[in-house]
Symmetry: C2
Subunit: 175 residues, 2 copies
DNA sequence: GGTTGCATGTAAGATGTTACATGATTTA
DNA sequence: TAAATCATGTAACATCTTACATGCAACC
């Protein structure tokens, strides 16, 4: 379901696009929220055409590209999903899993794991902050697709960095 | 891989347990990090026995329960995974996806979606905070399995609540 | 005797990943 | 002309969810 919504959403926000372009969008902007490979995207677009959420048009370029456009039915689906209070909320987070299991290690080793995590998060914060600066160079107009999500991404990375540092401190105090 | 590690980790931290007990542990403590149904757990435990990461013992109770114990090989696997810098880091987060797509809606509607999200997160913060208070009633001893993860969970929920509120404010200013 | 909780499993289907396969167009 | 990029697809496999299926023990 979510993949379908993600694709529909990108088409609604960015306008008509090919499967190839959508695959690249996943790699770039939306990757903080969702991911998909082209091998999953192409069949999904097929299903969406069948159900009437998008339309296709053949176009030139490459080996014969196909451009997809959202229909009104597709837009309704997005809106429905956005307003539905009851998401899955199933979480599968390897960092949190590590957080869970790390006290199994002797404190000194556990602390080292947390320090390494803090560094990776610091790098992530730097990367996303740069991306944000590059993306909107002083345009106080309307929020572009992805701006709010990017903010959330930066804050989350910063929070994890902070947490990992404090956890490492705590573990070292105990060792 | 992660399911295997999660199971191994729970067995290492909590001691020998049955598949049924592990399934309940997923529902309770570890659910912020990972989830699994019994239908996935039982076969996985079978594979782990085959590969020598755990051992089984038949025991009484219910219809014939089986108790699993981590071996040294299993412990080594956990340690390996914890120290490995290169996790998948693939994220699939429906809240972040919403964050991405919400600017598609007219500002007033988008703001309402964000307010609702903020409320859900506030409830989550309350719930987890209570859980934390209940879990360690003034014991300044060693950090129990899950304490660090619980902290991370509380902070994350609080961050999302804050972000959703600010995003709603911003959207309302624009509408 | 019925419900709830303990306890284990299988099967079908959806979702996601990795690998294989093909071919046109642009650029060095 | 070789490599990179654009472009689409299939197949095999791993992972996860939902539904089906069974049976014992305790309590009411």
């Amino acid at each position: 379901m979510s993949l379908r919504i993600a694709l529909l959403g990108m088409l609604a926000a960015k306008g008509p696009a090919s499967g190839y372009e959508l695959a690249k969008l996943f790699d770039r902007s939306i990757n903080l929220a969702w991911q998909a490979k082209h091998s999953q995207i192409y069949p999904e677009l097929g299903k969406m055409v069948e159900s009437g959420a998008v339309t296709v048009e053949e176009a030139g370029g490459g080996r014969g590209r196909k451009v997809y456009t959202v229909t009104q039915a597709g837009r309704d689906e997005i809106k429905q999903w956005l307003t539905d209070g009851d998401l899955h909320r199933s979480v599968r987070n390897e960092i949190a899993l590590r957080a869970f299991l790390v006290p199994i290690l002797p404190p000194a080793e556990a602390a080292a794991v947390m320090r390494a995590e803090a560094e990776r998060q610091a790098a992530q914060v730097a990367e996303l902050t740069e991306l944000k600066a590059r993306d909107k160079p002083g345009t106080p107009t309307e929020p572009s697709f992805g701006t709010y999500a990017l903010d959330l991404g930066i804050r989350s990375a910063e929070l994890i960095r902070q947490w990992a540092t404090e956890t490492a401190d705590d573990l070292e105090r105990r060792s």
